[in-house]
Assembly symmetry: D2
Homo-oligomer: 452 residues x 4
């Protein structure tokens, strides 16, 4: 077991909030970020493949900037910034903190070099260590450091998705981490094995509660929540059914081969325009292989597409079109949370090695709620009734994105250990497909066949 | 009373569905469209000021195409199209019907001329008259003709909003209809009169029903509903308060003059990008006048901005930013419908003359639910639980737009008589500001001052 | 012979400058513009199909604005503008005169209506008539009115090319003027008749003079010249050969069918990018007809492509690629002028009816220097040595466009009578293909076969 | 003297073609490229600041690809490519060689890493060394290797200009090489020292010859020429005058401070559009400093603008506007070559250290024809009479760019030693300003004051 996996084990298995001291947790999360760039060159860490993605180096610096700006600057006596220019370079979107470097130009920041950014991290970590020794009991410090670590975990997933997008832009299709074994004939043959049968699980609905329950302090993952998961509130659900696993590559391939990308009636109007404009004919990262076969780009390089694995990197438009083709629909986020919450005890994601940054097929007992792919819901990202953003700059965190984005639930193979919970609300525009995003079907009960 | 107003009176005051025969209703609605272009030249009817808008001539032809394609073609013996090319030219977005002329190029269709389109209308109306004499009792014909008339009424409002946008693109700022009296000093002085005080009305919420109730057949306006208003379903509402009138120009002017357009913290992130990109500094159609004074472009030309009138032509982003500045929020569509439904008996809009295509200030007893301005809600436009689009081409009507649009409720000064009801769901992208769109504030009850 | 043709005959056959009084010439040119819009509806005159084109109504008003601004405003006692807003609306590019209406928005000017613009023309013409009676001997007035008339003649050609582009944007492919006879089988068969053989005429070159010779006052066409045709100056020409007719549709069709649009080595780098970006596969206005046959859109509607006619509506890139494919090159403007000047006496274009707005095939004795199609040269549009623009606003006429444009020589079937001369320099960007532009091949003498 | 300077001395002072054996010259030029990246990190070498610029790593690989593709592949027995993917990745624009990686995505090629590219260079250099030992007398090999080395020298200059643009995109304004001394008060004061007086030198013109004279084999620099410098041919020049030094920063500052960027009459129409669209108010790399003072970004970082130095990084539009403001014009390329050729013996550029990548002020005797800044001419880049591109892929070198580009003459402070000659034709679009481009004024003789 590598050092990185040991750190992850600390993060994943800590039974309760109180047991892992904050300072130990701080260093574990911070160390995990460094582990992610270990296989990368300075060039890999600097380039930016599109405005929506950021360089790994920028992620490393920005998450450090968060602690420097929101913690050290406030509580450190005689605070002086590591570098006066970094305040502007590594601010992401906090307009209240000051000017920002334009997002599409992040890949042009060859200076500071990766080496300098690593020194920046070391210095801030050392100062944070000193500060936390003294102020670990200060509730404001606790809250901001915890927020900063959750924030860094979000960026850890983004580092992987942004990197995957960057490597795919290279015609050489390089791998982030080499797969253990080369592609051989047996593997190609195995790729066509189908997923286990998909079943719909029924829920009676009614007046239910969703959102983060503040009292649930019994474990690390659910103790914390972002502001957008609150307040917990009542929702009325009509009876519904929801699938017991994700849609598989094989099922999605049938949609592709049935002409799903050529029938406008299957698509939302804006989705059809998106499909036309960019000439999408299949999911991002799929490539035609030998006649009748498909390849898929993974963090382990180009691989045969495996039918049993869940289909990944869908846009909302593709997920919605597939669901319509399949005679089903996307779940609402309330339906999803209600169903997944019931399964949380068994469903919480386990530990995953660095060579497993790819979703796995569903074994018989696995419902794939967490740890494989984020799951698009039909719910627009909006404030819960009574939502109030945190005061001050950190309040710019979530609320300002509550328009034209759609909620994804669950977590993915790239989500760090300890960063998943039933109330978690991820969100992206309907066009986004470079995330580890898949789909789970839902239906009205009346749409199920009798006895179904 | 003009002929146009007589027609409108027929449409507005018809007490029940059964009383106005369909054929009479058909001709009244069709005639109203013609009335709208009476003050216009052929050039006015041909030009297109932006891809989102359409020429008046196109509206006239497209609404005719609807009856020709969905009614005559199906039921008329020996059907022959008026012109084989019109099927493609005047299809709006029905992909299942065939090819379409590209939307941004509608203004280039100088042929057919306005005169030819008017002949097209005459011929189709004559054939529809014949057909309706024979088939007026056919329920499918009834349903499609009723849908076609509601569809035409939607386009009647669009003709006015699209035309307003076109005339504003002309530096001469021409009027659609001259205002009765010229701007004089008294009027300028009167412009600064404030609206009556705004109060919040409280609602206990709980489990309520929204959506169209099929059984409410007692009047014309509520007998019909689009598919997107169904099914009627239960929603849980937390206690809330909602304003008893629309936000006024004077209140919005205070926001502008307080630097509301310069403070990114008041805006959604995407809203701020929109405001920056186009350098918005005030609502569309406002122009700086004499120092400290504002002018507003209306269908009667450029006028002094009147503080007491409701603020119009806001984008969702502007409505949302104003609400945040005012310490309030936008209502959800369920909150809106629950509150407006209770007031429907008194609130239903009355008759309005062609020179009154402008929202009026709220008198003491008026809540402005209908007939002034559409009201942005915070609700993303989505399917109601159990929603199923109509089968066939007309099923492309509403469902395919259910992404990245926001619901507006109520109706406006440009909405035709008889085309408003509490369950009506209008929808536009968050950037749209050329519609007659305003806002009504809402609050959580906990945000109200004690006793408030 | 129609009135329009009578007017044209006055313009074309006037033997000398002195013989046609300026006032008579003024009214003849102005009347010709009106004749061009006779077949058009107000909508046809208002629409704008692309930013590079202008509505016919705008052309009518802008040419009038020229006389109002540069003549009446200066010499008319008690001058008052026809409409104060027109100064801005109908200014084309004279930055020194003041603000301008944005060019791409000219099609949105539904007001003033066509009727109002015609009144504008009438009033200015009446005032010009009065003024010219008094000041016809004033040399400055003479110079500016002559310039204004030449300017109007340029816009007369643009009215036709812009209108052709607009009509082509309409899927109904309407005609500006109906062709006398319908397309029949004989015509389709005749379309494949080839042009007469093409021969190269040799010139020894040496030190020659080009540019406008001020002393050549013996006829109307060559008495006037734009500033960019001067000064007359010496140029050294290497020996060269130039074709004795334009390239024909049949020859260009062979290039298309030989894969000319698919071979990047035939194209300039920027030309290839242009061809790729817009997916050009053949000249603008060509359309595939029956298998193996082509149609071409003309001002008389869609017609079978006739092989013997000269190929029209080429961009510089297409002309250049064809020449490379043909083992030839484009002439320089000096080569062209030297060769055409020698032929001017016989080559000057004759009178053409309004139903002949289309280039004709070359008869045995015809070299097609003038009156068929403008001919791309390889010469970038630049100042002649010693060039000095006219002082004042009219000096903005030509010099400011001397970058990134290429010179075309000759004249076209749409050029008004009396507006062609050997020294005339037309110019357009290399991408322009909506003009009546064709090509004439040239070669170095060393490239000719022995005895060739 | 550093190793890099020794290499440069070899290149610059070699008296004749025959004296420096090709293999020695090969290694010297190749080594110089490596010297240029010595101060850079792998990130610096990978990033791309705009589509027109390329990463340093790409330049290093592309110049190597040239030798591998055009020399090794043809003459090496048992040739095998270093990496099969490099053929596509590092092809610049040779369409006849095959597919190319899209130019704007060159900065995304984090793999191969800089280290791998350096190994690629080493291997190709070793193989070229072996090949040249055997085939150094083969004239085709000689010609292609010489072309490859000239090509690499062009890319050496581009490496510096592209890098300067990249570093300027970084708000930290980092330096490529530190300046020896920090900015102090004396330097700021010295910045306002004016250039020596500018004088115009007169030429009688007449029939002259320009272009490369093949027989001039007496030195290294003039022995070689690109195809676009031939054939040598006659041109007729009217009498003209040309400035005896470049325009200085101080002179250009006067233009800026006189409102030169606000007066449309000074600009070409397309230039004014360029200036408006990007809000240019001064040359690229200038920044306002203290009130009344300017800073300029250099490869040594941000520095006070020195009035005596020549103004650099102008677009054609800026050069043209300045000339108009100054009552002068740009020279034609023939005028420039005729004047510079006369001065070539004294004017040929000397040796320059790596810390001198910045143009110097003109001493009394210096005319700045070479070695300071490329000089815009008014000549569009076009084929000389009788020009014929080389056959095969290397013939794609120059001819395909002969449209919409303007010729610059001379050479710059970033041009490698031995890469300047009077007949050299550099070319860029009129908007390009990231090159070391300045201007030299010219006049018609009639514009000079009497005795001037």
């Amino acid at each position: 077991m590598s050092a990185a996996m040991l750190i992850d084990e600390v993060l994943a298995t800590a039974p309760a909030h109180a047991v892992v001291p904050l300072v130990q947790r701080y260093h574990a999360v911070r160390q995990h970020s460094l582990g992610l760039v270990t296989p990368l060159s300075p060039e890999d860490c600097c380039a930016q493949s599109m405005p929506d993605a950021s360089p790994a180096k920028w992620h490393l610096a920005h998450t450090t900037w968060f602690f420097e700006t929101f913690v050290l600057e406030r509580w450190e006596p005689d605070f002086a910034p590591f570098h006066p220019g970094f305040r502007m370079l590594f601010n992401s979107y906090y307009d209240s903190v000051g000017e920002r470097h334009p997002r599409p130009a992040r890949g042009l920041l060859t200076r500071p070099s990766l080496a300098e950014v690593l020194i920046y991290r070391q210095q801030v970590d050392a100062r944070m260590g000193t500060l936390l020794q003294q102020l670990h009991a200060n509730p404001e410090v606790q809250a901001l450091v915890t927020l900063g670590l959750q924030h860094e975990q979000q960026h850890q997933e983004l580092m992987l998705t942004d990197l995957k997008h960057l490597l795919f832009a290279n015609p050489l299709r390089p791998a982030y981490v080499a797969r253990p074994a080369p592609v051989d004939a047996a593997e190609v043959a195995g790729a066509s094995r189908a997923a286990r049968p998909l079943r719909f699980q029924q829920f009676a609905g009614g007046l239910v509660e969703i959102g983060h329950a503040r009292q649930a302090l019994d474990d690390e993952a659910t103790a914390f929540a972002f502001d957008n998961e609150s307040p917990r509130h009542k929702v009325y659900l009509a009876p519904y059914a929801i699938a017991d696993r994700l849609v598989s590559n094989g099922e999605y391939r049938a949609f592709v081969e049935d002409g799903g990308y050529d029938d406008p009636l299957l698509w939302l109007s804006e989705g059809w325009a998106w499909r036309q404009a960019a000439q999408h004919r299949h999911p991002l990262y799929w490539e035609p292989g030998a006649p009748g076969a498909w390849l898929a780009f993974t963090l382990g390089g180009l691989q045969p597409l495996r039918d049993a694995e869940p289909v990944a990197h869908l846009s909302y438009f593709e997920a919605d079109a597939f669901a319509r083709w399949a005679g089903a629909r996307l779940p609402t986020e309330a339906e999803w949370e209600h169903a997944a919450g019931a399964a949380w005890a068994e469903a919480r994601p386990g530990l995953r090695g660095p060579d497993q940054l790819h979703p796995q097929h569903a074994a018989e007992a696995q419902a794939q709620w967490f740890g494989e792919l984020w799951q698009w819901t039909q719910s627009s990202y909006a404030a819960y009734p009574g939502f109030r953003p945190a005061p001050g700059a950190v309040g710019e965190y979530n609320g300002k994105f509550m328009v034209n984005q759609y909620v994804l639930r669950g977590s993915s193979c790239a989500t760090p250990a300890g960063h998943a919970r039933p109330s978690y609300r991820n969100f992206f525009p309907a066009t986004a497909c470079w995330q580890f995003s898949g789909l789970r079907l839902a239906k009205d009960l009346s749409e199920l066949p009798p006895g179904g």
